[in-house]
């Protein structure tokens, strides 16, 4: 008769015996040599969405005694201006309302849904959210990650590295993965942002290697130009519909502010929100976003006084800022993503005392509180985007898989595939 084997008792000892040989020290030395030549990514790309807000980082409080009164005065003046503008708007009944759905020249506004591109196992895949079918569109020993579809849906850009190198090429390929072109003259280290220009002819990028300069490279690989190199730029946004203006958060010794400038490099740079310091500079004003028609900007702003991140919408010229509704128990509300028709924002929230984030949909007119949608998401960061037709939200954290969420309620479903990086939804322009 066979004696039952008590695996629970013996597995630990057996596993230890299986790997008695020490790890090769030369491998560690090699890794440390490689890492010593690069810097950590900024938290934006590492998908860190908020720090330990309760304690704050050491040294992050830079509000000086002499500077604080001036800032408070400025805040008071701005608040008075906002109140005056809102009062005037209410008085004449001229509150701006977005027509829904409004029509914009392609590639902006609602469009048909295409495929979802994502990275898994070092390659790029296309998944069909309707059928669940998946197709690999890149292959080979290189590590391909972070695909981003062009606004016209005909190409995607992605990052490619090989041999364990942390330097990455930006590659542009047709929507089926054919005709890949390395568009960067040499591999770039510490890429923190990558996106297409609205005309789908160029790719903008920011990297630590250049002190977070903002650069634009043609999608055919013919030429890189630098737009900003005197500020540390963070996750810019091109202004629809023509992309002639770019919006970005810039950081300098003066603090962080929101800036705009023309993408052809002409004209002065304007500070929509002048640089200032806060207790949460890592996340203050991060990832401002233009509405699909380019008339509004959604952004989040840290309040030192309240210790919370708050969500705002303002006109594209920096005027008329107004806070959107925020529940008292929510300490973080931000990372806004516009619906394709420009009437709603998908935002991320974290309640006080909670370690998980959730998603809510807020009407831009601010007349109704945000609607929680989908499940709570774990992990260090969360990526949310709308389907091109505005009927779904696509979400993924670095722990949870891709989730498709009904933006009008709490129904959601997992995607049929898993991925190691954040997805991008192909837009089939009308």
């Amino acid at each position: 008769m066979t004696a039952p084997l008590d695996l629970d008792r013996i597995l630990g000892r057996w596993l230890e015996a299986e790997v008695e040989t020490p790890a090769p020290s030369e491998l560690l030395a090699s890794v440390l040599t490689d890492t010593s030549s690069v810097r950590p990514r900024q938290a934006w790309l590492a998908r860190l969405r908020w720090s330990g807000l309760s304690g704050g980082r050491s040294g992050s409080t830079r509000l000086s005694g002499s500077w604080a009164p001036a800032r408070l005065t400025l805040v008071a003046v701005i608040a008075l201006i906002i109140v005056a503008i809102l009062a005037a708007a209410l008085a004449v009944g001229s509150r701006r309302k977005l027509p829904a759905p409004f029509r914009l020249p392609a590639p902006f506004g609602p469009a048909a849904n295409g495929l979802i591109a994502y990275a898994a196992n070092g390659d790029i895949y296309l998944g069909d959210p309707v059928t669940g079918q998946v197709e690999s569109v890149t292959a080979g020993p290189e590590l391909d990650v972070e695909p981003v579809f062009s606004p016209d849906g005909t190409h995607f850009a992605f990052l490619r590295s090989s041999g364990g190198s942390s330097a990455e090429d930006i590659v542009v390929a047709s929507k089926d993965g054919s005709d890949p072109i390395v568009v960067t003259p040499s591999p770039v280290t510490g890429l923190t942002w990558l996106d297409w220009t609205p005309d789908s002819r160029s790719v903008g990028f920011v990297s630590d290697a250049t002190g977070r300069a903002l650069q634009i490279v043609a999608s055919d690989g013919k030429g890189v130009r630098t737009l900003v190199d005197d500020l540390a730029v963070d996750a810019p946004a091109f202004r629809p519909p023509d992309g002639a203006t770019i919006l970005f958060r810039g950081q300098s010794a003066s603090g962080v502010g929101l800036y705009t400038m023309r993408t052809d490099g002409t004209g002065p740079r304007q500070a929509l929100i002048p640089p200032r310091h806060s207790n949460n500079e890592d996340y203050d004003l991060r990832e401002p976003r233009y509405s699909p028609d380019g008339s509004l900007i959604a952004y989040h702003e840290w309040s030192d006084e309240l210790g919370e991140m708050r969500l705002y919408v303002m006109n594209a010229d920096g005027t008329g800022a107004r806070q959107l509704p925020q529940d008292r128990q929510v300490r973080f509300q931000g990372w806004p993503v516009w619906s394709p028709d420009g009437t709603r924002l998908a935002v991320q929230r974290m309640a006080r005392g909670d370690s998980q984030s959730s998603i809510a949909v807020i009407a831009v007119d601010g007349l109704t509180p945000g609607l929680p949608v989908g499940p709570s998401m774990s992990g260090e960061g969360l990526h949310v985007e709308w389907s091109p037709d505005g009927t779904r939200l696509l979400a993924k954290s670095d722990v949870d898989g891709q989730i498709l969420i009904d933006p009008g309620g709490d129904s959601w479903q997992k995607a049929a595939w898993t991925s190691t990086s954040f997805p991008t939804w192909q837009r089939l322009a009308p």
Binding site: T35, R41, S58, A120, G164
Partner: protein
């Protein structure tokens, strides 16, 4: 101490990261070898994990949970390595040569180790990861679940399934080679 190192590394202090990496390296590599059953793949996975750890060190929201974060990178790195290289190479395991005369109990131990190794190898990468996190690294269920990116309940059921699968593989082997010697080995190792 580790918390300070993480905070320093997040500011770009590479020496601090080297201390963190040095402290974790052996544990990571042994775990990767167990999960992947392939030394070269383990080298690749751990190299990738440490590169990613440095690159994304600022993603660590709670420095006190650095180890948990590192284990999650390890598991994901192992999954990628396993998928990258479908070819299964033979793991180089240092064992006592079987043709040497040895005491009966040693022989029985070796027999059972071979059986366990064979059964463990038959598991999927995901099942091996579950077992390594629980039985080798000794992580509490909640931490192991976090490393795998799954709920605790799911982790428990996966651990149960992995253990059941391994037991089934052992029993299949036992039926294949005869029951007498494995029975003796069980008595010896347990």
């Amino acid at each position: 101490m580790q918390r300070d190192l993480v905070l320093r590394a997040q500011t770009g202090d590479h020496d601090a990261f080297a201390s963190l990496a040095g402290a974790a390296f052996d544990r990571l590599h042994r775990s990767a070898r167990l999960i992947l059953r392939d030394n070269e793949a383990a080298d690749d996975a751990v190299q990738e994990v440490l590169m990613a750890a440095w690159r994304d060190i600022r993603a660590v929201r709670d420095p006190d949970r650095f180890d948990a974060w590192l284990y999650r990178l390890l598991v994901n790195g192992c999954y990628r390595a396993a998928n990258r290289d479908k070819r299964r190479r033979t793991m180089e395991i240092q064992v006592t040569p079987v043709d040497l005369p040895m005491p009966r109990s040693d022989h029985d131990d070796l027999l059972l180790r071979d059986e366990l190794a064979g059964a463990f190898r038959r598991l999927t990468t995901e099942q091996r990861a579950v077992i390594v996190l629980h039985h080798y690294l000794g992580l509490p269920d909640a931490e192991a679940a976090q490393a795998l990116g799954i709920p605790v309940g799911t982790f428990k059921s996966r651990l149960n399934r992995a253990t059941t699968a391994m037991r089934a593989a052992l029993e299949a082997d036992a039926r294949g080679v005869g029951a007498s010697e494995p029975d003796l080995a069980r008595e010896s190792l347990t």
